[in-house]
Symmetry: C2
Subunit: 427 residues, 2 copies
Amino acid sequence: MSEQKTEPAARAAASVDGERLWRRLVELSRHGGFGERGVNRQAFSAEDLAARRTLLEWAAEAGLEARTDPAGNLFLRWTPPGAESGAAAVLSGSHVDSQPLGGRFDGAYGVLAGLEALLAVKAAALPLRRPLEVVAWSNEEGSRFQPGLTGSGWVTGKLDLETIRAGLDATGVTCGEALDSFLAGTPGLPQRPREEPIRAYLEAHIEQGPLLEAEGLLAAAVDTVQGIKWFEVVVSGRAAHAGTTPIAHRADAFVTAAALAAELRALALDAEDTTRFTIGRFEVVPGSPNTVPEKVLFTIDLRHPDAGRLAALAEAFAETCAAAERAGPCGVSIRVTSDAPPIAFDPALVQRIEDKLELLGLPRFRMRSGAGHDAMLLAAGTPTAMVFIACEAGVSHNPQEYATPEAVTAGARVLAATLAELGLEEG
Amino acid sequence: MSEQKTEPAARAAASVDGERLWRRLVELSRHGGFGERGVNRQAFSAEDLAARRTLLEWAAEAGLEARTDPAGNLFLRWTPPGAESGAAAVLSGSHVDSQPLGGRFDGAYGVLAGLEALLAVKAAALPLRRPLEVVAWSNEEGSRFQPGLTGSGWVTGKLDLETIRAGLDATGVTCGEALDSFLAGTPGLPQRPREEPIRAYLEAHIEQGPLLEAEGLLAAAVDTVQGIKWFEVVVSGRAAHAGTTPIAHRADAFVTAAALAAELRALALDAEDTTRFTIGRFEVVPGSPNTVPEKVLFTIDLRHPDAGRLAALAEAFAETCAAAERAGPCGVSIRVTSDAPPIAFDPALVQRIEDKLELLGLPRFRMRSGAGHDAMLLAAGTPTAMVFIACEAGVSHNPQEYATPEAVTAGARVLAATLAELGLEEG
């Protein structure tokens, strides 16, 4: 890395105002805030609109150009004085909608760190050749309207508006109705064309896992999003009286399912603790204390960065279930209910982020994302990578979600340094 | 066994009309009947009343004296011409209320086999010295009004009327209201005094388990009702993101609970297949496929004929749960939620029933009851035993419940022979 490049990046990072960023995280969390630090700010709700208005105020203060699109995304653009005409922007952001029982950081951190990084680069008065832009993707969570990831899904052409607008919330409101009234709440915004090119996409996010905290690190580059396969296993036995039926005469769906669950888990676990194997749902029918269970349905959430390993495990699971059925006394079936392949982020961009960690005196570290993010969809057509910051005990999707001011600032600095470097490059 | 005793018993058994008994089982099942052979005849319902009226018609036909009591029991008494004045009756019966998704045999068989046996003894014109009486205990099942076993509970002094009448069904009707209108449906019946002595109580019932069918037997003497302990185990972990949380950082309540369940089960099982261990309820919280479970609550239904063995297992369970908590990473608690000690039936009466099996050319066989029955309560103050008949695949509390006409007849013959012998004896 040349001297010319390193210095502007370090200047941009140094311009990050960590206190302002922390204040804004707290301020934004008032929209939908509950309890000590919980946030309920579901997509296209009044709280989501209030958060958007706050973002627009901050953008106006900084002289950024705000735009939207039919999917309800918000873009805040800064075009540097010396930008080349028609140069594609470097985009950074995340989402501000939350889970119903969410926290202050999931999504909101990526948007506000992106904004802080942009302001820092702007303040550093560097001769950028291309615009920087912050995005708040709409409806990432999918907790109110399914599917989620609709804002980035529309921009990347993965989802059409019809599919997005058809979503229905629990009270019978369609996503289309909610989106229309949400957009009407911030009238007069220019439209960003769907096809407008993006030079690169960077997303900062809390890790939502305990690894960085355990390693004593503040931030890391994210190089992959692991693949996710969901399975549903059904074990069919025979209901019987718990008092009268000898063990030898039972076809106890619980006993078979619990043993099978342990066997499948043992197949998946590895010494490196790379594979994620979770049985989160395990339903016993009829669920009466004095009836031998007739049926168990359980789910497996299996994740791994390597598609080959996921495929091999899926095959091993199928074989193990078939063997369990042959061994008797219960029927066993397994099927894949969802399948998302692993995503690799842009290697050069990941490398740049690691370089920035080093530039800022932090250890180089790269890791994978366990969860899905908007960046996953962007990666298909745009050089993309993510920055993770440490979060307390890995807790997320929970009012207890927390990241320290140090980690919050460190992530924004890495982002600012990377944005500055990308903005300085030729088209 | 003397010649004088054996011969009358055999004559009584030979007088059993198996076809009439089968016809009556089918006829009674029309009250509350559904589907091919299901029965829904809950306590004090219109269907229960209709069944009672049918029983009263059959009693009137046979010249039996019908009585009732404040708990809603029905007694049908035959006093032989040569009965000693004030001699206590030999009582036989069961109940005619059913589970909501019940069958033709559970309960109804014991009442109709008792009636058929009484008619057979009567037809054999034996010089009985004491009355024979058939009883239909009220609300055995407890599926509409809790608790169950209220008819026998009241007669044996285990339950007072206030407790019984306080029960509330799902529609808000009290047991007292339903009982009053039920009793009003068969007006003018004399009251049986609660304290009236009972010489002996015999209850015939389908096994509700698969043992007799597996052994190729039609009927057996029942010598004990096993003890029942219920436990509730709670495993407390920590909810976490299924995608981002390494296995080493998890406190997965499902994994701990499933392993603990297997360990507790292994403690309970024995080579003789005597202990009944059932986990029928196993609830995983929050039950979301991509969240590591925070909590599991599961129940254990533990049964064994020996109180010492039950106590030892309860202690071993508590130690194992404490060890699981010490091993971490989850909290584990266990508590006993219900505790019914084992009941031994009258040894002489059990012996008599085995003798009658032999008399009728059936193999001698004694077994324990896995389920609770009215006989369990009678046993505390009255010489009591039960006769079980084989039922198909051990299925009960289910519309598919079935017993063959051969088993149905065999059980009534054993009952008739035993009633005859007891009726012939001095006071």
